[in-house]
Structure formats: C-alpha cells, structure tokens
C-alpha cells in the first residue's frame, strides 16, 4: 500500500541542517495498523506528513499504491484524496458548519452531488457518534467532538489509507477515550492506518506493527508484543522506561 525507500527530509534553518527524517524505509501493507512512536523531535510527524506530500522530500521515494510521490509528474492532489489525514489541532474549517465541513471536499474534489455528499456526511457523523451536532459550528464543539468530526471529514473522501498525526495530544484527558474508540473501530473494519501517537495503550492494543523513531532514523520495528516486552535496542529500552 505505502512503500518508502530511503526517505530523507532535511530542513535548513539558521545556518544549520536538521535531518528530520533520515533514511527511513518501510512497507505498509493493506489493512495494517502501524503505530509510530518516539521522543518529540524524532521526526515521526515529519515522516507522516511526507506520506501525503505535505512535506516535499529531500531524497528517496514514496510509493502510494504504486504511484511515486517523488516523481515530478505525479498529481499530488490525486494521491491526497486517497490518503486521509487527521491532525493534532483538528484543523476543522471554522467558517463552515460541521456538516459542511464534511460535504465540501466531497463535492468539489470527488464531484459528488450535494445531496449524496450530505447523506454520506450524516452516515459518518452517526458512525463517530455526533449526529446531533451537524448544524453546529466547530467552535461550539469540544476538542474530542472536533477531532471526531475531523476523522469523519477525512473518511468522507473514501481514503484507502488514514494518517493520524498525534490525534489525541491536544485533547483534555477525559476526551482521549472517545477519539481512540473511533480509531479502534476503524482498525477493526480493516482500514489501513499509520498513527503517530504517545498513547502506548493504543499501540499495544490495536497496532499490528510498531515503529520506533529517534533522530530521524527508524531505530526498531516489530509487533507490539516484541516491542513492549522484549525490545532489542538500548535507545528503545530507555524510551520505554521513561514513558511506561
């Protein structure tokens, strides 16, 4: 589904070069749930943003469904509609009602009829459990509700892959659960997911595979059992000791 080969992303700023992602090669299979963890500044968010072209790569290749994002001829917009993304800060459109947030891209990108898009939007709102909020503006919603709308908005495009960039980090503790539940349901339905998170419980319960990144490098990967019970690398052990 997604293959990256020797992915590198460097930032230049204030006279120094930062290797945000430094030679990451992974292969994500359909219906797989991959959780990326690591200390802050380890490049996991940048890695995720590279996967749908929000960051341009410095070198290497990303193949999404066989299409190379590094190829200049690739229409990124076409790739992006197949790759849904959920952000830490929700990024709902504040000038549009909840239902319009979900309808908009369906009509102008997928060219669906407004009526069909609304039916789909209602169905998805039902699925994430906030059908009654469809006529509200995002500012009237709690963080957890906003994030669930954001998930519904991404799902409305019928993506093949969903990317989650620390979806619960900006939420009050009591709202983390409702968002994670929605994500667990998605995983159960067989959605391909790449999740950057600090929720170790979620990683342990839902992930098929865990990637541990540090300083832009993929340090260790494996199943949750392997990862949480028998990590090999010293860096991983140190990190797990600090967070668990």
């Amino acid at each position: 589904m997604i293959k990256t080969r020797d992915l590198k992303k460097t930032f230049f700023g204030r006279g120094q070069t930062v290797y945000a992602v430094d030679g990451v090669s992974v292969n994500i299979k359909p219906a797989e749930v991959v959780v990326v963890i690591g200390p802050s500044g380890s490049g996991k968010s940048t890695f995720l943003r590279c996967l749908n072209g929000l960051e341009t790569l410095t070198s290497g290749h990303i193949l999404v469904d066989g299409v190379d994002l590094a190829d200049r001829k690739t229409d990124l917009n076409k790739v992006r509609r197949e790759v849904g993304m959920v952000f830490q800060q929700f990024n709902l459109f504040p000038h549009k009602k909840v239902i319009e947030n979900i309808v908009l891209a369906q009509t102008i990108v997928r060219k669906r009829k407004h009526k069909d898009a609304e039916i789909k939007a209602r169905m998805l709102l039902e699925k994430v459990g906030i059908a009654e909020k469809e006529q509200e503006y995002p500012s009237r919603l709690s963080g957890g509700q906003q994030q669930r709308v954001a998930i519904a908005r991404a799902l409305a495009m019928d993506p093949k892959i969903m990317l989650f960039d620390e979806p619960t980090s900006a939420l009050d503790p009591e709202m983390v659960g409702e968002v994670l539940d929605v994500m667990k349901n998605l995983a159960r339905e067989g959605m391909t997911m790449v999740v950057v998170t600090h929720e170790m419980g979620f990683a342990r319960e839902v992930a098929d595979r865990v990637l541990f990144m540090d300083q832009g490098k993929l340090v260790e990967e494996g199943t949750p059992e392997h990862f949480f019970t028998n990590p090999q690398e010293d860096r991983t052990k140190l990190f797990l000791k600090q967070v668990l």
Binding site: R80, Y137, S139
Partner: protein, 330 residues
C-alpha cells in the same frame, strides 16, 4: 482553533449606573457648540442657513413662448395645468401645456412671435446634490475597482511566483510612496493626454489604483493570518491550491480584514475630494462653486462636511452589519 484564538470582551457590570457619564458627555459637547456660537458672534457673521436648501433642490421655471404670430383658439384650464390651443398665421395648430397659475393669455387673444404664454416648473437637483451624487459615484466605482485590484495584487503578494511577488511589491511601494494628489495630476495630465481619457475616468482610475495598493496589503495580511493548518487540512483532502484559496482561506480572511477594509473605503470617500483639482464637480468642488455665488462660506463648508460624514457613517453601519452577520460562526 478555539484554544489558540484569544478573545477580549468588554466587561459590563449590569448594576453600574451610567447616566451621569452620558450627562457629562452631553455637557462637554454642548459647551463646545456654545463656544463655537460665541466665536462666530464675535466676528459679526450673518448666518444664512435658509439659503442652503435651494442648492440641493430648486424649482426651475421654463417660460413658453409663441413660436410665430397667431391667435389663441381655446384654453382648457382643468386642474393644475392649462392646455392652450394656438393657431399660427399659416394655419398650423399647436398645443401648449402650462401651469394654470402662470397663464398669461386669454381665449381669442392675438399674439406676436415671442409673446409669453405661460410657464412650466419642475424640481431639479441643485449643485450640492449633483456634487454628492458625483462623489458617491466616484467612491463607489473606485472602491469596487480598487477591491478587485487589491484582491489580485494581494494574492500576487503571497504567490509562489517570484515575478508576480516582485511586481505586486513594486506596485504597492510605488503607490504608497507617492502623494495621491500627485498621482491624480499624473493620471489626468499625463495618462489623460496620452491615452485620451476623460477627467472622470482619470479620477476614478487614480483613486482605484491608490486604494488598490492599500487593499492589497490588507488582503495579504488577512491571508497570512489564517493558520497554516487550514491549508494543510484542505490540501490533505485533495483540494487544489486554488480551491483552498476560494473555499477555505479567502472566506476566513475576508471576515478578519473587514474592519481595516472599512477604514480604507471610508478614507477613499474622503480622499475623493482631491479630484476636484482636475475640475471634476464632486461635492467639494460644488461647495466651492456655491460659495462663489452666495458667500455663505461657513454654512456651505459645514454642510459639505456633514454630507461626507453622512456617506461615511452609512458605509460604516453597512460594514458593521456584515461583520455581525459573519460573526455567527464564532
């Protein structure tokens, strides 16, 4: 979003009494007006406010004359207008309609060419009214064109294309760095001669291009004030850069730039008075013309100021109404 946006409320205590503050405001304003009145008393100026209304509207009288020698056949004086049937020496009949009160002829009366039959009257717009309309037209047209120019060059200012960015920066710096009065002269005397355009077109263009530069900066600031996450969310849904601009960024930016835009257009209404230097009869020029025939200098300038104030306050009311309507998503 909500977490990152700070809002400020004016805290009003419900039990606090405010009437004495209103009273103080009134006293200050009243004493200002009173001191003005005393000041004009001292310079022995005769106020003639009663002369002003006729420069808004006046009753224009048109005299009707017999076109050639002849005779009045009949007069039908029903209602307010009288119908005169007139027969010339050569046998042609003509019908004239005049106001009954102004009728100067009788039935059967012989007339010579040029004799007055009567007169008609109608209400006409005076110079202050036509000047006001001209100012309104100048500022409306210049605002509209200026908004479009400003929108385009504001978008160019945030474009990825270096040439577009440089050109729009050059435009903004050029226009903001030179006086409007000089720009108007250049438009009229240079461009007006080279391109053979009329004075009103030259005036509107100068004002529009002047306003456009400021609007461009306002639009640029508005676009840049929208969080990057909005664009990222839009792009991640597969929207193109253009769709993102049209559906996501500009609607939000527009709401934020409304107050500074309002200020700009209010300035434009007032700046439009400068075009009177190229002999466009706007409100200011009309005022000057009326003064030359009435010598009611004080009254006219006060009236002109009041009319500008009227235009600008209607505009600011309109914009604050739009602002309130857009605030529903807050």
């Amino acid at each position: 979003m909500a977490a990152s946006t700070e809002r400020y409320f004016a805290v009003k205590s419900p039990i606090k009494r405010v009437w004495h503050w209103h009273f103080l405001t009134f006293v200050i304003l009243f004493s200002l007006a009173a001191s003005l009145w005393v000041a004009t008393k001292k310079i022995d100026y005769t106020w003639r406010w009663n002369r002003i209304p006729q420069y808004f509207f006046y009753n224009a009288e048109t005299l009707l004359h017999a076109p050639l020698d002849g005779q009045v056949l009949t007069i039908d004086a029903g209602g307010g207008t009288a119908k005169i049937v007139f027969q010339g020496e050569d046998g042609t009949q003509k019908i004239f309609k005049v106001d009954s009160e102004s009728l100067r002829v009788d039935t059967g009366e012989d007339l010579f060419e040029g004799d007055t039959l009567g007169s008609t009257s109608e209400w006409k717009a005076g110079p202050l009214m036509t000047g006001l309309l001209m100012t309104l037209w100048l500022s409306a047209a210049a605002s509209f064109i200026g908004l479009i120019i400003g929108l385009i060059s504001g978008l160019c200012r945030v474009s990825n294309n270096l040439t577009l960015r440089s050109l729009s920066t050059f435009y903004v710096e050029l226009i903001r760095g030179t006086p409007l009065l000089v720009q108007i002269f250049i438009f009229y005397f240079f461009l007006g001669t080279v391109l053979d355009i009329g004075r009103v077109v030259a005036g509107i263009s100068a004002l529009a291009i002047f306003a456009g530069a400021y609007v461009a900066e306002i639009i640029r600031a508005g676009i840049q004030s929208i969080p990057k996450g909005q664009t990222e969310a839009a792009r991640s849904l597969g929207m193109t850069a253009t769709q993102n601009m049209i559906y996501i960024v500009l609607p939000q930016a527009f709401k934020r730039v409304l107050p500074p835009l309002a200020g700009q257009f209010i300035s434009l209404i007032k700046d439009s008075s400068l075009v009177s230097v190229i002999a466009i009869t706007d409100l200011t020029k009309s005022g000057r013309e009326v003064i030359t025939s009435t010598f009611a200098t004080f009254e006219i300038w006060f009236t002109v100021a009041l009319l500008y104030l009227l235009l600008t306050s209607i505009l600011s009311q309109l914009i604050s109404w739009i602002e309130r309507r857009l605030a529903i998503s807050d």
